[in-house]
Symmetry: C2
Subunit: 223 residues, 2 copies
Amino acid sequence: MAPFCYDYPHPAVTTDIALFTILEDKLAILLIRRRSPPFQHCWALPGGFVEPDEGLENCALRELAEETGITGVYLEQLYTFGQPDRDPRERIISVAYYALAPADILAPVAGSDAAEVCWFALDALPDLAFDHPDILCLAQQRLRTKLDYSTIAFSLVNETFTLGELQKVYEIIRGEPLDKRNFRKYILSLNLLAESGASQHGCNHRPAKLYRLAQPGTLHYLR
Amino acid sequence: MAPFCYDYPHPAVTTDIALFTILEDKLAILLIRRRSPPFQHCWALPGGFVEPDEGLENCALRELAEETGITGVYLEQLYTFGQPDRDPRERIISVAYYALAPADILAPVAGSDAAEVCWFALDALPDLAFDHPDILCLAQQRLRTKLDYSTIAFSLVNETFTLGELQKVYEIIRGEPLDKRNFRKYILSLNLLAESGASQHGCNHRPAKLYRLAQPGTLHYLR
DNA sequence: CATAATAGTGTATTTTTTACACTTAATTTT
DNA sequence: AAAATTAAGTGTAAAAAATACACTATTATG
């Protein structure tokens, strides 16, 4: 009943995923309610144990899919948390990832290990299990700083988007309003966008041009 | 003879350390020659298995001290490498760190697990064990980018240093010469330095003022 | 047809970054 | 002792980047 034996003690290794989206003009994070102890019924980041033959990133994507039904997100390794006492059961080292996706695609569904799956605005978080508050905090920091020297923000809008939507993303992550003209000048000067040709419709105001990334799916580093 | 048993397979976890210094006006890295298989007699980054009751950072510092005799370096987590086949023995996940120290303090001594310990200039590296070339490459990238928005460079000079020495560090990491006046203007505008009062001596030219960090040991983020 | 809502556009000012050359103080050589 | 060598130390002007700022355009709604 315990057939996996080693000459030296081995820690367990998990991945945890902080998936961000923007919901109702606020940064939000995907949490699951835990089915089993420890921290039973507590909210936690999705995640789970690394399988013997999968890479770490695959593990993160698999756990996210299994627990929440969500696929196709932008994913990046964040930090590895390994304090000896971070899990009451045994030594568990967690490789934390953060992920980004536009809200529209995402309809989370509770999976096998999770009784409930739910978006929470970052300013209205419940108590979290383990050291997940630390992970979340670091993820938010990373998101903020990386905004300035990369194109991660594009992972939070749809495939085609208006400059107004994109500006909103920047404003929400930075927590401050931006000047419209300067923002547009900056974004267009990157030469990463192509006009999709189409425009918005069904909005009760002048329709905005829709843009798309010239090279979709590619993360760019600026400067 | 294999008393550590678990219900599910557990990977082994190690830390590996890429310790940089500047030696003869070049970036150099500390390597050890492996005593035992796999990759016996190969050069590798110092590192080793995480003990059950130590944090990851402690593990990195302990392994560095055990294998090379070096202590008191600046240390920062880099990335976690976990491809299933990165070690031929068993599944081993490595939490990689990078470290910085001025060359003067460092007199590496071979430890128990390492037959030899030696500095190598980055432009004259031997073949490396495992995926250590990947780790090293990522570490160097991180070093370069972090130079621009933090005070890591100060970890590569002595406690007191001249502006010329500091400029050399920036030039070596960036791989290009910098303008002396602009560099000094920039560094002094950070308001992080204090004049030590003393000057260089024993050099065959005008002696430079020696500076120190106003808050030694603190890493600052710029902008 | 008036109102509401967001899209879309350009210029002047300030700040930051860059380019650039000579004098000073110590040691070494002649 | 004078000359040569070596790196230290210093300021200004030009270019580039970032910032501040206000009105017109286009759609839907009442």
